[in-house]
């Protein structure tokens, strides 16, 4: 997909003026955080489980080569195959070759962010294979020719009237004047349309929440059951996974599963957690005859040993999106690429470059909620700051900002000059603010004053007050 991350500011501006998006985001901002808080309050071990989960992920990253080789060995032992892909292009070509090998015309898909990352749908379509998204949210964005705006709730930016309109446009064999005013009715319609696709598909593609080295298994979690029909009914099951999804054992996966649903949707456990190991066995009456894991690097191995390594602990729960004031205000599409919210602001520059995605780590208030709710305690604000530093070092940030910072740094490094300058500035601004004590406009700061008044400095500065306090106390107060 063509990234529009460079246009974040314009995208965000448009998003703020979009009433339907604002209505949808209003529902999102309250729903997810409340449910998460309830689920976590019910599990006294939650904080300790976070630490256990972090230890597992750090252990895996330190031995990633060993666990990936072990995983591959066990997939092969179970009759499956692992396809190592360095880039999105290699992954796309591998998937296409596998689809052709299995004579696929229609491919059903479970939700996969790696599928979005490698833009597999466009590629299959261009090669005369029809991909059908089966997760309800993914299906809705697919028929609207949009991309997911949230990593676990792809259609969270839409209200039901928009979904109804899209269903009328896409399902032309149904009576046009049918009632489509409830989520229940919309869901039933999608269910019956997609059931035909499940039964017709030649290949099923799913993502993976975890890969288990011990058994060579892939694990997905869904609430709808679409991932299960996707991988059970067709002749072949293709798993798209990035290499940091690996965990050593089923027990390790279990610890992370206890964190995932609670952090994501506030559920105790997702409705369906499915562990898939190889193709169907000889005596099995159903299941896919072939099992392929497309293992994608796409720049991740290069993060090891660097300042962004911790990002590879991410389990894609979306808690950071759900609690982010910026994401909650503008939605996922403003970020301009696959991943959004705080995790997207850190991950996107690693995948498409800071030149392209530099706006994203700047779109943060640094309130720190993302890090505080991240089950893997990924220091997202710190990493956004690191990206800002790199952007500054590469001279990618706006000129006015860099010159302003350089001037400020020059003054700040000279305390006497700094105090004199700030005292003078505060006196001048205080005088100019006058009786109102506020500014309606300021030169060079219209970005601030367009939306609100700037308060004028009042009274003495902190340094002056501090100096006064440190003077000997007045005599009358000195002794009781």
């Amino acid at each position: 997909m063509q990234a529009t991350s460079r246009a974040f500011k314009a995208n965000a501006h448009r998003a703020l003026g979009n009433p339907e998006l604002q209505r949808a985001m209003g529902m999102m901002r309250t729903g997810f955080p409340e449910r998460r808080a309830v689920a976590i309050a019910r599990l006294p071990e939650f904080e300790a489980l976070r630490d256990d989960g972090i230890a597992i992920k750090n252990h895996v990253l330190a031995h990633l080569d060993f666990y990936l080789e072990t995983f591959e060995k066990n997939v092969i032992a179970q009759g499956g195959k692992v396809h190592w892909c360095r880039t999105a292009q290699e992954a796309r070509e591998t998937v296409l070759a596998l689809c052709r090998e299995h004579g696929a015309r229609t491919v059903t898909k479970g939700k996969s962010m790696i599928g979005e990352e490698i833009a597999i749908n466009e590629f299959l379509e261009a090669n005369a294979i029809t991909p059908v998204e089966t997760d309800l949210g993914e299906y809705i964005v697919q028929i609207r020719h949009e991309t997911p705006s949230h990593i676990i709730a792809p259609a969270v930016h839409l209200v039901k009237e928009q979904v109804a309109e899209s269903f009328r446009a896409a399902h032309r064999d149904l009576p046009h004047d049918r009632a489509l005013d409830e989520a229940r009715v919309l869901c039933d319609e999608a269910r019956s349309v997609l059931r035909r696709q499940f039964l017709a598909a030649d290949v099923g593609i799913t993502g993976a929440n975890f890969l288990v080295a011990e058994t060579g298994s892939s694990i997905i979690v869904t609430n709808e059951g679409n991932g299960d029909l996707t991988q059970t009914l067709p002749k072949a099951h293709i798993v798209l996974a990035s290499l940091e999804k690996i965990v050593p054992t089923l027990e390790d996966a279990t610890t992370l599963l206890r964190l995932l649903a609670r952090s994501a949707t506030g559920q105790e456990f997702s409705t369906y957690t499915t562990v898939s190991t190889g193709p169907r066995r000889a005596a099995d009456p159903d299941g896919p005859a072939a099992y392929h894991v497309v293992l994608l690097d796409n720049g991740r191995s290069a993060l090891l040993g660097g300042e962004f390594q911790d990002m590879l602990r991410c389990i894609r729960c979306a808690a950071c999106l759900n609690h982010c004031p910026v994401y909650g205000a503008v939605g996922g599409h403003a970020y301009g690429w696959v991943y959004s919210g705080p995790m997207g602001a850190v991950l996107t520059p690693t995948l498409i470059g800071i030149e392209e995605a530099g706006q994203l780590p700047n779109a943060s208030t640094f309130c720190g909620r993302c890090e505080s709710v991240c089950p893997m305690r990924i220091p997202l604000p710190k990493m956004m700051r690191q990206w800002r530093e790199r952007e500054f070092a590469k001279k990618l940030s706006p000129k006015a900002q860099r010159w302003g910072l350089a001037l400020w740094a020059y003054v700040a490094k000279r305390p006497t000059l700094y105090r004199a300058a700030s005292a003078a500035a505060s006196r001048v601004l205080g005088f100019m603010g006058g009786a109102r004590g506020r500014f309606r406009s300021l030169p060079l700061a219209s970005g601030w004053t367009d939306m609100r008044d700037m308060p004028a400095p009042e009274g003495k500065s902190f340094m002056t007050l501090w100096a006064e306090r440190r003077k000997p106390a007045p005599r009358q107060a000195a002794t009781p």
Binding site: L68, E69, L136, R281
Partner: protein, 224 residues
């Protein structure tokens, strides 16, 4: 450099600042894998006796919209299934997984229950399966694929009825893994099922029956 596999592994090792792991280090990791060491298991279910675990399982399953009927013996299962279907205004017709676990149930005593044994088809409105274990911690059923338990039977029918024995209820997922390892090989699919299918994808409004079953009914047979 040669193929993608070697390049990816090489890049990982370069990032980690080391070469391929030596004998002792990889032996330690092999030992970690073989030990199947449990991480922290929440006390919620593990601290209860078996009767308490069964009660917790029922409460947790009901919380996620499953329904549960407790019966005293296998002989009471057909009646409980027939009652459930009629209570939901559903036809007394079922596709039943060819699971030997279900053979001790006297299905013939309920001749009005129309049962077809085999693999589910798209037009099967209701299906009945056994299961492998049930996890008290979250009210979760654990089902394995195999010759007697086609995976699609858990997903295609609109109504899924599961016969569960009280002795199959365990505290935590880890207990399920232990039982699975005792049984032997990994099946193609392990399905953990926690309530009926659902979605919140439209305005976060909960709707049951997205693609899998709209109803999940558990008939819990005392056998301890």
């Amino acid at each position: 450099m040669s193929d993608p596999r070697d390049q990816i592994l090489g890049s990982i090792r370069a990032g980690l600042g080391r070469g391929r792991l030596g004998g002792t280090e990889s032996e330690a990791l092999e030992a970690r894998l073989a030990a199947h060491r449990r991480n922290r298991v929440p006390a919620r279910a593990a601290a209860l006796d078996h009767a308490g675990q069964v009660a917790l399982f029922i409460a947790m399953a009901q919380e996620v919209d499953a329904t549960v009927a407790r019966v005293a013996a296998a002989a009471a299962v057909p009646g409980a299934v027939a009652d459930y279907l009629s209570g939901q205004n559903l036809p007394a017709r079922l596709v039943m997984a060819p699971d030997p676990q279900l053979d001790d149930i006297p299905w013939n005593e309920r001749p009005l229950l129309d049962i077809r044994k085999g693999i589910a088809a798209d037009d099967d409105a209701a299906g009945l399966t056994g299961c492998f274990a049930a996890i008290a911690e979250t009210g979760t059923l654990m089902l394995l694929s195999g010759p007697e338990s086609p995976t699609r039977n858990n997903f295609l029918p609109d109504t899924h009825v599961v016969v569960l024995r009280a002795s199959q209820v365990v505290a935590a997922y880890e207990d399920g893994w232990d039982r699975l390892r005792l049984r032997g090989t990994m099946p193609r699919t392990v399905n953990f099922i926690t309530g009926p299918s659902r979605t919140g994808d439209i305005e976060q409004r909960l709707v049951l029956g997205a693609h899998g079953p709209r109803r999940l009914h558990i008939v819990l047979v005392e056998d301890a």
